[in-house]
């Protein structure tokens, strides 16, 4: 991994930090309504103004970061766990089991993740799921929509690694299956999957926000940026800030995660040296030239 431009990670790191420390960063209770200050602009008391119920926007944004962060972490960890286990198992065991699992994975991948999540939210609206809160329905729905991609990746890595000669060598030496898997193969799987997940996190944040926007995700009064945006749509003409602020927050976080993903992906494409780096290299070269001429003179 080349030298990291830390600027890329800044919004993502900020997002995580704000999410973790959000209760201490809030200036007001995000659910506290104040009918004397509806739809106000930024002021000393309310740094980002208030919404249509007089709730402090700044605190709600901070709270929304935590909501998204927590949900995102839950889903990613669960989807990764399920995906890696199923995919690795399929790749390692092979045979008919693998074929069956591959078919399951392919079917799960036949629809875009968000559509699956939406469909599952629909399923969960049935009476037999009433014991689950909306929040947990969303988490489960997203997890079940997200695992398949990781399963496919894990399986591919396992299959590729199993063909390496050192696996055969380990087996000959009497290593057990579990040993071979956890010591040799799992690191490769995790390496690829974690890299992908860090970029995927952005898509997940978007998915959570989209579900909330459609009314099928996080319900008020828990602050969530997508939900804040949909509520703000009705007040677009009076105070567009209700829509713009959560929207900008979402965009900033996703941009950061996407940059992360790009930084990983672009390492293989040849890029010419230009600009300041090129001038520096040329200058270094001329200096070497001069030094050499001095010796040869």
């Amino acid at each position: 991994m080349k030298k990291w431009p830390w600027a890329i990670l800044a919004p993502a790191i900020l997002f995580v930090l704000i999410g973790i420390f959000s209760p201490w960063l809030m200036t007001h209770d995000p659910a506290a309504q104040d009918y004397s200050a509806l739809l106000t602009g930024p002021s000393g008391a309310h740094w980002l103004g208030t919404d249509y119920l007089g709730r402090d926007m700044f605190s709600r944004i901070i709270g929304g970061a935590r909501t998204s962060l927590v949900a995102m972490v839950f889903v990613l960890v669960a989807a990764l766990a399920i995906g890696v286990v199923i995919g690795s198992f399929a790749g390692y065991v092979g045979g008919k089991t693998e074929l069956v699992l591959i078919s399951v994975i392919d079917i799960a991948l036949a629809l875009p993740s968000l559509v699956i999540a939406l469909a599952l939210m629909g399923v969960f609206s049935g009476a037999n799921f009433d014991w689950m809160s909306d929040y947990w329905k969303m988490i489960v729905a997203l997890t079940m929509a997200w695992w398949a991609n990781y399963a496919r990746m894990s399986r591919a890595v396992v299959v590729a690694e199993l063909q390496q000669p050192y696996i055969e060598a380990a087996r000959v030496m009497g290593a057990s299956h579990i040993w071979i898997f956890s010591k040799h193969i799992l690191p490769h799987v995790l390496g690829l999957v974690v890299v992908y997940a860090s970029a995927d996190a952005g898509a997940l944040v978007l998915a959570i926000a989209t579900l909330s926007f459609l009314g099928l995700g996080v319900a008020p009064p828990t602050p969530e940026w997508g939900q804040m945006l949909v509520d703000g749509m009705s007040y677009i003409e009076e105070n567009a800030a209700l829509v713009i602020i959560p929207g900008l927050a979402l965009t900033a976080v996703v941009v950061s995660f996407n940059l992360l993903g790009e930084a990983f992906a672009l390492q293989k494409v040849p890029r010419a040296v230009r600009g300041r780096l090129l001038s520096r290299k040329k200058a270094a070269r001329s200096a070497e030239d001069v030094a050499r001429k001095a010796v040869e003179a």
Binding site: P270, R271, A272, V273, R274, L277, L278, K281, K282, A284, R285, E288, D289, A291, R292, V295, E296
Partner: protein
């Protein structure tokens, strides 16, 4: 020999990638005249390709190039040409054959139409005439059933056929200079001989200038009128093929020729390799670059850059960059 049609002097070329800076050509030059074949010889990384194709702007994208020196084609300065003029020069005046035809030809394009287009644009032929010309070029390059091959994609031809197709492509614009960059390296031995024979035949018939870039001494002996030997971006020795191949002076040239296996020799030690490792061209080194591998090395070799000195008499100057051997063997210089 008539006046040179492509000549390059005092060329210094630095290549910059994100990780390393390399001086591929370190104050070298060459020239070639119509009707003659110049072979540029050296190991991989010696700068042969960069020196020849660099002035034409034909180095791969993705590497930053810094080029200084003089380069003239047909008497005109090509380094100060406009990009448009240079493009036309590349297409119409120069023909280039690259090393691996399988990767040098666009897999998505049919072969024939590319030839026809070159003929149309540079030889000024009509659409119909250029198609006929393309077919006849394919035939001339030794491709059987050229009418059929016209509409084929590169993956449908074998390596040897593809190289012939690339030769045809290079000739389609009726160039005055043909540059063949390791044209036989990717081919089987039997096909290699055929390709070389084809190139020689074309030169005889069309009277063009040919530059053969290669590390294969055998090919040099078959085709070349003149030879230039390159080491680490510097010219070690140059002259007529006979002079350089039969009476080499520079230690590198001697080492190179001694390392060519001769299946006719009886001696147990068939080849002698040159000791040491290839040069690291990311660093600039004072003096002679061959010094740390040379068996004739003297202290001056590390501090003084050896200049090319003319040795021997003859129509084609034989020049050598090694004052040590010249002095040691009492060779007369004519500068």
């Amino acid at each position: 020999m008539s006046a040179p049609i492509y000549e390059v002097e005092g060329l210094v070329i630095d290549l910059y990638t994100p990780t390393v800076s390399v001086r591929a050509v370190d104050g070298s030059g060459f020239h070639v005249s119509p009707g003659e074949t110049l072979a540029i010889v050296g190991e991989s990384g010696s700068g042969k390709t960069v020196m020849t194709l660099g002035p034409l702007g034909l180095l791969p994208e993705g590497v930053a190039v810094d080029l200084r020196g003089t380069a003239r084609a047909d008497g005109k300065d090509i380094l100060s040409m406009s990009p448009g003029d240079l493009s036309r020069l590349r297409g119409g005046f120069f023909g280039v054959i690259f090393q691996d035809p399988m990767s040098a030809l666009n897999p998505m394009l049919k072969i024939g139409p590319q030839l026809a287009e070159q003929a149309r644009r540079y030889a000024g032929l009509s659409a119909e005439a250029s198609r006929k010309e393309a077919v006849s070029l394919l035939a001339r390059s030794g491709i059987p059933d050229p009418e059929d091959r016209y509409d084929r994609y590169p993956h449908e031809l074998s390596g040897g056929m593809l190289q012939r197709a690339m030769i045809a492509l290079a000739l389609a614009a009726r160039p005055r200079v043909l540059i063949a960059d390791e044209p036989t390296t990717a081919l089987d031995a039997t096909v290699q001989a055929q390709i070389l024979a084809l190139i020689r035949q074309i030169q005889k018939e069309d009277g063009i200038a040919v530059i053969l870039i290669t590390h294969d001494i055998g090919a040099v002996s078959v085709l070349a009128d003149r030879v230039a030997v390159l080491y680490a971006g510097q010219v070690a020795e140059e002259g007529s093929a006979i002079d350089v191949l039969t009476a080499p002076v520079h230690p590198y040239t001697r080492g190179l020729l001694a390392s060519v296996p001769d299946f006719r020799s009886d001696s147990a030690s068939g080849t002698k390799e040159i000791p040491g490792i290839p040069p690291n061209q990311a660093q600039l080194v004072a003096g002679c670059r061959f010094a740390d591998r040379c068996d004739q090395v003297e202290p001056q070799c590390h501090t003084r850059r050896p200049a090319l000195q003319t040795v021997g008499v003859g129509p084609v100057p034989h020049r050598v960059a090694c004052p040590v051997v010249i002095a040691a063997e009492g060779i007369v210089t004519h500068d």
